[in-house]
Assembly symmetry: C2
Homo-oligomer: 142 residues x 2
DNA sequence: CATAATCCTGAGTGATTTGGTCAGAATTAA
DNA sequence: TTAATTCTGACCAAATCACTCAGGATTATG
């Protein structure tokens, strides 16, 4: 039940971009330096984030990255799913719409639990936006 | 954000024991056969479950395993934590009581999100007992 | 135009984790 | 005494992870 380092880095890097919102593109090298993350590793992560439409890139000199939407409209869940793919606590939930659980004749009893778990995880992650993270004066997220 | 096969197997095996509750010890070999799980792998998992006090064992001929408590008093969360250890979405939460998050001067902004996530995951898993799983006549868990 | 700064991409790599297997000891009912 | 069982530690192959490496594409600036 762990998130990868990719996700942790991704969220932190996006938070940096949120702080910098509306100040023009920020070079990835700068973000990596600030957060002490491997630049080349971050490149891969940002590739996913960009493909997911969460950020835009400007190439060439004076280029960099910008959030594709205002910080309030980017949820932590968006970042997690962009970087790690959909939340699937057990493989059973990955593909099959509702089939494939053929253990025990009564059907896959445990499936309901994993579905609930998946839904709750997505809920929690979608309750918090980048704005919530950067606007730290408000203290608690609640 | 995945659970291991160990957890999936553990929960299914415990559900089998819940079905069999109060019918004397059930040999592990039988459980493994029913659920099509590697017997030797299940042995390791049951070792953890037993050490966690979730089940009792009877050695020798006609031995086997029994739930240490009634199905209603064993939560899926108990099984998950016994088999996988405590839920820690990011390593940041593993040890340090509240320290160690020294990225960015404002402190670890993202930490709150991961703490919430961890708490919610534990909540969901603790809402469902083995009795809920086996008492499938009631349909939905809610 | 040349250069340097930046994004972009695919391949490779060493360490760790995962999902098992193997071998054998300890216990106990029949 | 035997066979059924739990228990334990060592081992192993394959997958995953957290990167690194190498190099191409794009573009502002001098």
């Amino acid at each position: 039940m762990k998130l990868s380092a990719r996700v942790e880095y991704g969220v932190r890097a996006m938070a940096v971009l949120a702080f910098h919102y509306q100040n023009g593109p920020l070079p990835l090298r700068e973000i990596a330096r600030q957060e002490e993350i491997s630049f080349q590793f971050l490149e891969q992560i940002f590739s996913d984030l960009r493909r997911a439409g969460l950020l835009e890139s400007v190439r060439g000199v004076r280029g960099g990255y910008l959030l594709a939407r205002p910080p309030a409209e980017i949820k932590v869940g968006d970042i997690v799913r962009a970087v790690e793919g959909p939340i699937t606590p057990v493989d059973c939930l990955a593909d099959s719409p509702s089939s494939e659980c053929r253990h025990r004749k009564e059907g896959c009893l445990t499936r309901q639990v994993w579905e609930r778990l998946r839904d709750r995880i997505n809920e929690v992650l979608d309750e918090v936006s980048l704005a919530d993270l950067t606007d730290f004066k408000t203290g608690s997220i609640d």
